[in-house]
Each structure stands twice: as C-alpha cells, then as structure tokens.
C-alpha cells in the first residue's frame, strides 16, 4: 500500500471539467462555452491516460489521502485512489466523454441554451470522474449526488416538455430512494469501524482489521454487518443503475434533450451503480449478498430484454437494452468478480455510446422522428448505417466483437457455479440479438415511411466520433483479452471455457439474429403504411407458409410469446405504477389529513383559537356587568347593600 503525495495530480482529473463548467456558466456565448468544455475534457484526458498507464503497473492500490474534517476527535479523511478499477474508468469516461462533447457541439448547434447544456455536461463529468477516483465512501457519495443533480438538470433540460420536467423529477426521486440505503450504509460503516476510506495503509474499510470487524459483527437475518452494509450499498446501486424494481426512471430519462444526455444516463451514469458494487466488492465477499446481486441482475436483464422487444421508440429500445446489459454486468461482478463485470462495463460503454450517438444521428436525419415504425430506408445514411451496424453486432455479441468477448466471460463464469444464472443469461443473450435485429430491420432496409423528407446524412462533426467508437466497439474486446485484461484487473478469470459455453454463446447470438430475420423476412411491417412488397409477394408468401409451416410456427409462438411478454410487462409496470400511485396517494392523503385535521382543525381551531375564544368569552362575561350604564351599577350597589345589610343584621343577632 503506497500512500504518496505524488498522486495529488489526480485531483486535476475531476477539477478540470469543473473549472470548465464554471467558465461555461459565466460565458455568454454558446460557442465559446462549448469550446471551453471540450477543451476542459481534452485536458482532463491527459492526466486520465497517465493514470491509466500507471494503473497497469501497480501491485496494490495507490492512494492520496487528506483530512477533511474531524468529528468528535475522529478525523474523516477524503482521498483519491489509483488502481486498475479507477484508472480504467477515468480513461474510458474522459475518452468517451470527449467524443460525446464533440458530437454534442454539432447536435446542439441550434439550441439557444447551448452554453448551459455544456456546463451541465461538464458538471456531470466532474461528478463521474470524482466518483470513480474517490477513496472514501463519503466522498464517493458526495460525487454520486453531484452526478444525480447533473442528470436531473440534463433530463429536464427541455423543461418546456412537461414529460421532460416530470422525467427529471422522477429520476431524481427514484434514485434518491436508493441513496437512502447508501446513506445508512455509510453511517453503519462509520459507526462500526470509524473508517470511511477504502484503502489507507491497512486501516481502510476494505482491508485488514476494519473488514474483519465488519465480517465478525452480526447484522440482520443472519447476515454479517459486512453483508448488510453490502446490501444497503447495493440498494443504492439498484437506484442508480436502474435495476429491478427501481428501473422505472431510466426509460423515462430518454426525455433528455438528445441522445447525448440519453447516452450519459445509459452508458456512464448508470454504470456508477455497477462501479460501486465493484469498488466495495470485498464487503460482499463470502456473503449471501452476492447471490442477491446475481439474481437481481439476472432478473433485471431478462425482464428488460423482453421489454426491449416490445418497444417502438428507438431510444427506448436502447434504454431497455441498457437496463438489461447493466443487469448482466451485475451478474458478471457477482459470479466472476471485478474483472468480468468491469470488462463488460467497458465494452458496453463503447458500443452503447456508439448506438446512442448513432440513434441521435438517425433521429436527426429523419427530422426528429423516434418511432421506428415511421422509419425505414435509413440505409441511405450510409456512414451512420455502417457504424450503427458495428454497434449492433457488438451488442448482439456476434463472435469476435467486443460484446462477444465480455459476454462470453460472464457466461463462462456463471456456468461454473450457478447453472440457473447461466441459462438465464443465455436466454437474455438470445433476446438481445433478437431485439437488435428487429430494430435494425425496422430502421434500415426498405423505403422511408416517415412523413418528412428522405433521411439525410448527418454532418461530419457528428459522424467522425462515431467511427472512432465503432473501431472500439469491434476491436476493443479482442485487444483487451490479448493484452491481458483479466491480469490487469487482478481478478478472477475463468481459466477454462467448457465447449458448451462457447457453443451456447455462438448459438444465442447468431441464432437470435437468424430467428429474427426468419420471422421478419418478407413480412409487411412498419406503421400504417402497407409494405408494397406484401402486395407483390402476397401469394408467394402463402405458398411458402403452406410449404414449410416453419414461419407460421415461429410467428405464432413468437407472436404469442411477444403478446404474453407485452402483457406481463404491462402488468408488471401497472403493478409498479399502482404501488407508486398508491404510495403517492397515501402520502397525499396523510398530508391532507395532517394539514386539515391535525394543524387546522385540531391544533389551531380547537386548541389555540378555541382557547383564545373561550378566553375572549370569559373576558366578555367579566366585562358585562361593567356596561357603563349608571342604572346597572346602581342595581349592583343596591344588591350589595342588601347583602351587606343582611350579613350585618345576621352578625348582630
């Protein structure tokens, strides 16, 4: 464990985008603001790449800690950490972020509030980079919140759309529910060990005595304290990474102004939850918490993959796909350790960034149309189509693309210990290949079905970043494995890949694509506009159907499957929505009751005003004899005299 001040330059990585953010806010010109932010990101890339290079040579994490504050004699330290986990993340975030910034400069060209948009993007980058570099649970939480705020601002950036404003609110509040778990975990860890640093010369939370203390202390339900804290942290991760049942905000977050912000939420921010689990994995070790992570991840992956099949919105399909892939990453971390999960996180970041930016380019080219039923014929946008397909094959995990290598690793790791998870993941992979193919079939071939003009290619400032990402989406996996990604992360590596794993991996990806093509081939699809092909091939179709029956069987089963899926998803969503509404309703009702009956009726009217009124009444009663009428006074005097006289007489006798 080397603690050294020589690492203080790490601070620049999150600081540079922050400085850019401040300047961008002060800047009146949108162009200048975007240039400042791009420059800030490019500048941050330099120390980030240095950190990445350095991290490969480390035997143990390097840290740079300093005291932030003291509480009751205990000091709370903050610090930054350099290890493969943080080194690879900062390199990926700055690199992908830089490309996004470049792309956004063109995409947001016409928006009047471009300067503000870039300021938010930079703020987001600050939060994300700080988060991955944090060596303290509390510091990580603070950056985590900055990320949350930035995403709130970005999602509701086009607040004129009521749905966007509502989606921002929903995202913030939903992730906050998870954050409550995170906060309690921090308190618990601090109370039990007094340490919030992850690594600090043997005294950190994730090493030595503190970890043993937590593993020895007992928590709830037969779990150790470490296990409970791990689960609470996982609750935080569920919120941030859109896992079941807190995934509801993520598809809505597509209301963000651009695929750029959609990408940020899909490929970067949501990865924060996965990163948190990876970072604190020693707490999960040897505890049933890891099973929870695996099963929640697998269930999410399956659910979201089904949901993606039923969507018609280009960005929404990608959003559900992201939820599904995040589930796989969780599975990867749970079954295979940091290396497996993080490998998939990185390769996913590249191809999903590519897909989102590509989707942005498509939407841009189709005149802001997002419904795939109204697309078609997008293949005219040759460059975009080419790079989009690169991303798509990687997502499908077609052999030898990045997605294949990383997903294969998850499957192999799961196969050893948890066959249930393995088969779930296999089904997820099959469905993934299917929904990607379905989407591509809708979008690219055929004639354009939209109401606007023909799709037109996006400008080069938008396509250039896509090509860079496409190269990574295809080749990153191969090179990563070749250069020893697993040794780099120093984690577990499933040494042997049983033949069945490889066979399944091949079968599901290629099979999924083939299956989908088979179902769709020659079928009319897309919007209200009838496909002209069906008129020409109508009879031939029927003959083919009668001849083989395969199509029908597939169609029937898959259609049924889809209908059932849609129904299940709808019911699930309805139940979740009902719960949400129920909670909202209950909160409103309680709040109403407190307001009207508690405060207004009981405390104010009855207690306070009532007391005041009765005081007033008694005052009136007391003043009534003193009406100012001479006659009434005389009457009282006379009465008094009589009583007095009566007493006097009584006393005398």
């Amino acid at each position: 464990m080397e603690g050294s001040d020589s690492l203080s330059w790490l601070v620049w990585i999150p600081l540079l985008p922050l400085i850019a953010c401040v300047f961008a806010l002060l800047c009146r010109s949108g162009v200048a603001a975007s240039l400042i932010c791009i420059a800030g990101m490019a500048a941050a890339m330099v120390p980030a790449l240095r950190a990445f290079n350095l991290s490969g040579e480390l035997d143990a994490p390097m840290t740079f800690n300093f005291t932030w504050m003291t509480i009751a004699g205990k000091s709370i330290d903050f610090g930054f950490i350099l290890d493969p986990l943080s080194g690879s993340m900062v390199a990926m975030v700055t690199f992908v972020g830089f490309l996004i910034f470049l792309y956004a400069a063109k995409y947001m060209e016409d928006d009047l509030r471009r300067g503000r948009f870039f300021a938010y993007l930079s703020l987001f980058a600050t939060g994300m980079l700080g988060l991955v570099l944090s060596n303290s649970l509390l510091l990580l939480f603070m950056f985590w919140e900055i990320v949350g705020v930035a995403s709130y601002l970005l999602i509701s950036f086009w607040f004129h759309k009521p749905s966007a404003a509502a989606a921002g609110k929903k995202a913030f509040i939903t992730t906050r529910i998870g954050d409550l778990g995170f906060l309690i975990a921090i308190l618990w860890a601090f109370q039990s060990t007094g340490a919030l640093l992850f690594y600090s010369n043997g005294e950190g939370l994730l090493e030595g005595a503190a970890l043993e203390t937590l593993q020895a202390e007992s928590g709830f339900w037969g779990l150790t304290a470490a296990g409970v804290i791990a689960l609470l942290l996982f609750v935080g991760a569920i919120g941030k990474s859109g896992q079941l049942p807190l995934h509801v905000w993520l598809p809505d977050a597509m209301e963000g102004p651009t695929p750029v912000s959609a990408l940020i939420h899909a490929a970067t921010m949501v990865a924060a939850g996965v990163f948190l689990v990876a970072r604190t994995l020693p707490l999960f070790d040897g505890s049933p918490a890891l099973d929870v992570v695996a099963w929640v991840g697998a269930a999410t992956a399956l659910f979201a993959a089904f949901a993606a099949l039923g969507q018609y919105d280009l960005k929404r399909i990608l959003a559900f796909s992201t939820v599904s892939q995040l589930g796989l990453m969780m599975v990867g971390i749970a079954v295979g350790g940091v290396a497996v999960g993080m490998f998939h996180l990185h390769s996913h970041a590249f191809f999903k960034a590519l897909l989102f930016l590509g989707a942005g380019s498509i939407i841009h080219g189709c005149g802001d149309e997002q419904d795939i039923r109204k697309m078609g014929g997008v293949a005219r946008m040759k460059l975009t189509t080419l790079v989009y397909l690169c991303g798509a094959v990687s997502l499908c995990a077609v052999p030898y693309t990045s997605g294949f290598f990383s997903k294969d690793e998850i499957l192999a790791a799961a196969y050893h210990d948890r066959p249930g998870i393995f088969w779930t993941c296999a089904v997820v992979s099959l469905l993934t290949a299917m929904y990607v193919t379905r989407q591509c079939l809708y979008v690219f071939p055929g004639k354009h079905r939209g109401s606007g003009g023909e799709p037109h290619e996006s400008p080069v400032q938008m396509t250039a970043p896509l090509f860079v990402l496409a190269a990574f989406a295809l080749a990153f996996g191969y090179f990563a494995v070749d250069r020893g990604v697993f040794e780099y992360f120093g984690g577990y590596h499933a040494a042997e890949h049983p033949l069945i794993v490889v066979e399944v991996a091949w079968a599901v990806s290629l099979g999924g694509i083939a299956l989908c093509c088979l179902i769709y081939a020659g079928k009319p699809y897309g919007g209200e506009i009838a496909d002209p092909l069906s008129g020409i091939l109508g009879k031939a179709y029927r003959v083919m159907e009668n001849k083989f029956y395969f199509d029908e069987i597939y169609a029937a089963t898959v259609c049924l499957l889809w209908q059932i899926t849609a129904l299940v998803v709808a019911i699930l969503d309805a139940i979740l929505a009902m719960f949400r509404e129920l909670i909202v309703f209950a909160a409103q009702a309680i709040s109403y009751i407190f307001h009207h009956f508690g405060d207004r009726a009981l405390i104010d009217n009855w207690v306070f005003d009532g007391t005041c009124d009765s005081l007033k009444e008694s005052g009136e009663l007391a003043t009534s004899p003193q009406g100012g009428f001479l006659s009434s006074y005389l009457r009282w005097v006379a009465l008094g005299a009589v009583i007095f006289g009566a007493f006097a007489i009584g006393g005398c006798s």
Binding site: W68, K169, I173, S591
Partner: protein, 501 residues
Amino acid sequence: MLAILTVVISYLGAFVVACTPPSRWREIRWVALITTILGLATAVCCATRRDAADGGFQDVLRYDWIPSIGASFHFGVDGISLPLILVTGIVAVCAVLTSWRMETRANEFYAYILALIGGVYGTFLSMDLFLLFVFYEIAIIPKYFIIAIWGSGRKGYAAMKLALYSFGGSALVLFGILAVYFASGLETFDMVRLMNEGDFSPEFQVVFFAVTFIGFAVLAGMWPFHTWAPTGHAAAPVAASMLLAGVVMKLGAYGCLRVAIGLFPWGAYYWAPTIAWLAVINIVYGALVALNQKDFKYVIGYSSVSHMGFVLLGLATLNLEGFDGAVLQMFSHGVLGAALFALVGGVIYVRTHTRKLDHFHRLIDRMPGVTWVFVVTGLASMGLPGFSGFIAELYALIGVWKAEHLGAPILLLAGLGILLAFGYVLVKTHEAFFRKSENTEENDPPTSYEPMTCAEKTACGILLGCSLVVGLYPDILTQWIEPSLEPILENIGKEVLRWTT
C-alpha cells in the same frame, strides 16, 4: 468586551433610525445596512480573535446589575454562541438587503428590525439567566409589531398568535428560571456557576427540564407547538420572515441546549427518547404538511418546522456528534431558511404579487435567473452534499446511531424525512417554476420580469456562499463548537452515572 458591541451597535442604529423622518427612507436603509454590517464585522472579529482550543467563554464582560438578587450584566462568547451570532449577523445584513425598497414607515420598520436583532445578539451572548430572559423577551416584542403593521394576509391573527405562543413559552421559561434560582440556593443567575455548582435532585430535574425545554422549544417550532411558525412566517414581511426563520427559531433551540440541557442533565437524559420522537414527528410531519400547501411561503414555513426537527433530534442524542449536528443545523437552516424566504417572500413576491402556487405559470420562462438560484437553494436545503445541510444532517444521524437510548425507528424515520424533503422541494419547485398553470392570472401576466437586483443577488450570494463554505469545510465551525460542548457533555455523563447507580 468586543462581543457586546454587537448589541450596542444594533440599539444605537435602531435609535438613529427611529429619530429620522420616514420621508428619508433612502438614508434610513443605508443606516440600517451599515449597522448590520458593523454588527457582522464585530461577530467576525470575535471569531478571528477566538482561541479555538479553549472552549470556555471569551470576551467576557461583567457588571453588577441588581446585586440584591444576584443578577448581573454578564456577557461572553463561547463556541456555541459564536456560530449563532455569526449567522445572526449574516442574516441581518441580507434581510436589510432584501427589503431594500421598503418605503412605508421605513424609520419604524428598521427600528423594530434592529431592535429585534439587538435582542437576538443579547440572548446569544448572555451568561446570566436573568439577562438572557430579558433579551429573550425584548426579541419577541418587535416581531409582533413588524407582523401586525407590515405583514400580509391574516397579519393581525398571525402577529397575535406568534406573540401569545412566544409569551406562553417564556412564561414557562421564567418559571423554570425562578425554580433554578431558588432551588440552587446560590443566589446567582450566573449560568456557568449554576451548571457547575447547582446540585439539583433528579426529581426536580425531571420536572423542570420539561418545563424549560418546552418553554424554549415553542420558539424552536417543536410539534405540537409549531403552528405559530408557518402562520407567522407567511404573514411577516420578507425581512422579518428571514429573521424569524433564520435566527429567532434558533433562540429557542439555543435555550434548549444552553439552559434546559445545560442545567438539568439528568432531566435531559430522562426525556431524551421523548424529545427524539417529537423531533422525528417534526421532521416527517413538517415535510408531509409542506407537500400539501398551496401558498409558497407556507411551504417554506413548514420546511422550517421540518428542518428544526433535526436540531431537536441532534439535541436528543446527548452526544458530541449529535450536538455538533444540532448547532450546525442551526447555522445551516439559519442561512438556507433565510435564503428561501428571501427568494419566495421577497424576490419572487415583489415581481408576481402572488404566492399562490397555482397562479405561478412557468416562472422559468419569465424569471430564469431567479429560478436557478431557487433550484440551487432548494437542493442545498434538502441536504445535497457540498452544502451545510448535508453535513448537519449527517452529524445528527451519526449521533442518533451512536446514542444508545435511541432506537433504529428514529433513524429510519429521520431518513424518511430526508426523502420527503426531496419530494416536497422537487414537487413544489416543479409547481412554481416549470408547470403550466391551469388558472392563469386574470390580467395578462408579463412575459418577463425584471432580473434580480444587485442587492438581491448579493443577499442570495452571501447566504448560499456561507452554506457552501460550511458544507465543504465544516471544521471552520466545529473547531469552535466541539470544545464548548465538552463541559455540557461531561456534566451529562457525570449526572447520568451518578443517578443511575
């Protein structure tokens, strides 16, 4: 010696302002501003001169006042009162800046405001119980007039309600003070001596802790004695709402800590679980009721009730972390509560002339600058890391976790309160700034309002800046607070050990 200047300056300023004819309101506001700035400068001087390692009273000044009963003019600053006089100074300056355009009877208005500020300083600086009570009363009277004369809505009702609640509370406090005086047999009102030498029986402590604590807690907005707060805040003119939320509520909390807990440690231990429950009720109940308000100022008023719950919760922990949290929350809510009221009751109200949430129609289009300042302030007040609210709540929650006499339900309810705070801040922000209103105003609303004036920007900047500084570097306050809490905690530890065995 230095500290008492804050009180002297405020009353001098009040006197000068009161003697100036109201037609010269432009000069009057400058006098008020300079007075408050001098007060703040004095407080800052106290802070810079302070020896942080020594937790005792510094800058002490003592003259005999009524020797026959042992009352004296006895002033001093310790680490608990220092953050509070700082926040008083800050909020005072910003309150004057926010009501920069006040013309109606400006001389009286500023005279009352400065008298109120002087009373608050005096209360925080008093080391003598009798003196503390006198200043505590002095601070109440100007509030009545300010609300009754310059208020809005049901101002007469609100003013009377506030005065009655305050006086009701102070009656209990007076009762407690007299009981302490006679029971101790020391013939002194000196708080330090009473704390160290006053030897009160456990039964006495149990009864009179309750009496004094409730007396002070009324002013801190403790449930169910809280309803004066939203009504009073809403009816008051902006400067008064800022001072009410920012510092006057802290008077109550300060009294709870200094007098009730300081003098009756065993009583505090006995009642701590009850207080903790009342505190979480404050937090959750306040947040839920805030969610149901239609008047923007009432939302902020109830959020104050909710936030003050964290102060009470911190006090109920009876440990260093919790007390730290309580004092930090007093500071934090002081600046953030004042900032929220400045925005809602001042900046927004003078432009829209309404506070009804359903009359606001997409304010973001028409006052974008104000909107973003409000969003940041709202985020800060709901405990966003980086701002003071987060640190204060974190300390209080750590305190709760550590306190053996408080259970997990308290912690969970407080956590729920934090979540609800997110709910009402975001929901109400949405309603006020982003929502399309169904019932738009009768006459055409202007398409854009005047941007924030320089004075308003300065006020909001100062308040948010203070919150940010404390949020990023809490040691700046805790270095003073912690040493001064030690004697109180030692006393609690001693008494608890003594009466439990």
